[in-house]
Symmetry: C2
Subunit: 488 residues, 2 copies
């Protein structure tokens, strides 16, 4: 080993607080300029993968650069080629405009860098997380007492629910191989559930038929459960959707819960996107379904406008998570009367090190109040309804599906056949993307190419919807004409 | 549905940029004060779980509070009851002092809120992540071309490696049930690996014996592999450690790799804690082992001082991740010549939404240069060696294990039997914790209660080690006297 004296002097990484204030001020200003530019900037600037890779390619930087140069690179390379997810006409996927307050809370979370493994290592952070879980549980009407944990997102929450359901099924049916377990989804369910089943070795995934409104019907589920049980398989988890990512459709939760109750199979609701709608009067009916679920996924980084990553899994019976995730070799029985100090999140999931994700939610709710988010969600829903009305009013547009804050529609000129309609709408989508002024992500509904708008953005206003409709009409007419020309 | 007009006016969540600057400045100042206080504050203030819960307990806050009040609550409730992980005498677990530069980068990551699902949604962020993977791969000598992905931490990285190994084993041995798969670990391996096996339904976990230096020996592994194969089981993944969390012990990686090569079983190295030591000349020998591994876990939020959460999984053959994680229903063949634009991280792991974790690493390396981290790591190792010398020089202290930046030792007065030594050292640990000046986390080595120091902290200096040794001696003498009195 080389000679290396034990260090006595201050480390160069131990930044003097004045320098931290200065660099922090510069970073904050970069963020402020990003936010200020967001309403007017193009949603995304074009740059090829090769060009972008060349911009960043360099060997590991042995020596540092000065702060001014770093800030320049951040602005000209990173920010310049990042999508403005908070842009008022960013309607793709389910990608929220982030609440700037949440971003500021994330600064503090990283500065104090709590490792939220357990109360004993991070008392305040663990307490805040459990408080936030209580709030979310009550706010959406799950009413389970706030049991569960924060995770990276809906995929992780769904995976954790299925993992616990596997353990639960195997305890109820000892000796059952995973190959005989069955997960129930519909054709509209988020793909993370089937992926979780494959990951965990769950033998069967039922992708059940839906009705015309893309909702899983109780009789369909009941028949599938009965057939599998007759075949000696073990129903393990039924995953219903409270707002599919595709079209925002909502399964009849309470009725599906009743079917699950008949045979005692785990009823999970994927509300990663849609669950926060339960805060609004229009979607308060969701609460009845949530209150009957065994578990619920909910992503505050979607429709509560929290920065990434902030997912939540709520469960009704925390013992089921402990059965699956607690290390039995040093098992601690946690009871109602046991001290809060013994709470360890690793008994409830697969993560050991855990970022202080709850801080941003706590700060957001405390500073803004829940009602501000309720109003923003209601605004998004109202905007979707406004888009629906505009689409219905235009003879050339056809509404294909609509719920929550998602609307699917297409340009449908007279005289175009099915294949032409797909081509024309794909051309509209490409043209919108090329302008950089509006970003949608398309989908396919019953085999038809559809434009799709998802509004989880507190900056989107009526004028943005008007802009979108005008552009779709204009690009649609161009695309239709070009398509007819090409056919000649 | 209630009447709700489509919104035309600006949302209350759409914070004016001036207010963002102001609140941001206040948050930054909170963070600055935390950093400034860190060297002198108690590591952790005492407060019971019940008291702390009462501080935070309130119904969901329907209405907001003003910023001054929020900042006060952050300071007096959250920060006051958070552990100072960057305190120079915070030696517990493997919990790094966070680089303040990383915290500032996290502010920007949350403000621009890229969702790093795929290049097409976050071009700059995806490019930065792949660049950072290339850097880390080269820096520690994995030399695999930078394939892999960023994850939440070592547990997730180990889980992803095992998940891919399960798929790989089942492809090589079609029709093999998971019950017949075997994971190989040693008694010293991190518990996340056995937990991952249980989660995935891997039938067998071998917890193999280690030598006196707590290292898994090649012959032990070879014998276990042979016995299992003879019994018709399928070796799936061998997990070696490059620095156990317990005592920092390093398995003979290259030799174990050779054994794995004999039968083609996946060789994984858990370097979550220790891998960055490969940057230093003293531990450059690790590179030879890494270069022969199929996969490597490495946590920049441990020994590269990045804020949580920042874990890395590097793999030699990216196709193995795609085989396990890509959605085969819309499979995209990614080849060397295919455009970078087609890269989707969801083809490589279980996460869909993904925080821009790579930004802090990019900013840290760019601003400081890699060499600054190399020196800090070498300092930590030198400090551990200094502690070892101090322990060896004291007749009342006994060094039990030591490697990388972990040192395990105990107070061992003459005339105390094994049970008394355990009691005395547990009393020292409790007394240290009670002072709030020094935080260790104890461990058990060969049945003996051991004090354990893990230095992944660029603030720890020689004086802190001296302080620790003095306190252990003083508390040890008190505890020994009390123990003798109690025995009378």
């Amino acid at each position: 080993m080389n000679h290396h004296d034990a260090p006595a002097a201050r480390s160069e990484l131990d930044m003097p607080v004045e320098r931290f204030r200065q660099l922090g001020g510069d970073m904050l200003e970069l963020a402020a300029q990003w936010l200020a530019a967001e309403p007017d900037a193009p949603v995304l600037r074009h740059c090829s993968g090769v060009e972008l890779a060349a911009l960043f390619e360099q060997p590991p930087p042995e020596q540092g650069i000065d702060a001014a140069r770093l800030l320049e690179e951040l602005r000209d390379k990173v920010l310049r080629h990042s999508r403005h997810n908070g842009h008022p006409r960013q309607f793709a996927h389910v990608c929220a405009s982030p609440d700037p307050v949440g971003a500021l809370a994330d600064l503090l979370a990283s500065a104090i860098n709590q490792n939220v493994t357990a109360w004993r290592s991070a008392p305040a952070a663990a307490t805040v997380e459990r408080q936030v879980l209580h709030w979310l549980d009550a706010l959406v009407g799950f009413d389970g007492g706030g049991h569960g944990l924060l995770l990276g997102g809906g995929s992780a929450a769904n995976l954790h629910a299925l993992g616990a359901a596997v353990e639960h099924a195997q305890r109820r049916h000892p000796g059952t191989a995973r190959e005989r377990l069955v997960l129930y989804t519909s054709r509209e369910t988020h793909l993370s559930l089937a992926k979780a089943a494959r990951f965990l070795g769950v033998g069967h995934v039922r992708s059940l038929a839906v009705d015309a409104a893309r909702r899983l019907q109780p009789d369909t589920l009941r028949a599938a459960l009965a057939a599998d049980r007759a075949a000696g398989l073990v129903p393990t988890l039924v995953a219903a959707s409270a707002g599919t990512a595709n079209a925002g459709s909502i399964d009849p939760l309470a009725e599906l819960a009743a079917v699950c109750g008949e045979i005692g199979v785990w009823f999970h609701v994927d509300g990663a996107y849609g669950a926060p709608a339960a805060l609004t009067p229009a979607y308060a009916f969701l609460r009845e379904g949530f209150a009957r679920a065994d578990s619920l996924s909910l992503d505050p980084h979607k429709w509560l406008y929290a920065p990434f990553d902030t997912g939540v899994l709520l469960v009704r019976d925390p013992q089921r998570l402990r059965d699956a995730y607690a290390d039995t070799s040093e098992y601690i029985t946690v009871t109602e009367t046991a001290p809060l100090e013994s709470h360890a999140f690793w008994d409830y999931g697969m993560e050991l090190s855990r970022r202080f994700r709850a801080l941003k939610l706590w700060v957001m709710f405390k500073l803004r109040g829940v009602d501000a988010y309720r109003r923003a969600i209601a605004d998004n829903i109202a905007l979707r309804a406004y888009l629906d009305r505009r689409v219905r009013a235009e003879a050339e547009l056809e509404l294909l599906a609509s719920d929550l804050s998602i609307s699917c529609f297409r340009y449908r000129p007279a005289g175009a056949d099915a294949a032409a309609l797909d081509r024309i709408n794909a051309a509209i989508q490409a043209q919108l993307l090329a302008t950089g002024e509006i970003v949608l992500s398309p989908t396919t509904l019953d085999g038809r190419y559809s434009l799709r708008v998802c509004i989880v953005n507190f900056r989107s206003r009526r004028a943005d919807i008007d802009w979108l409709v005008e552009r779709v009409l204009a690009f649609g007419r161009q695309a239709h004409a070009a398509d007819r020309d090409a056919a000649r």
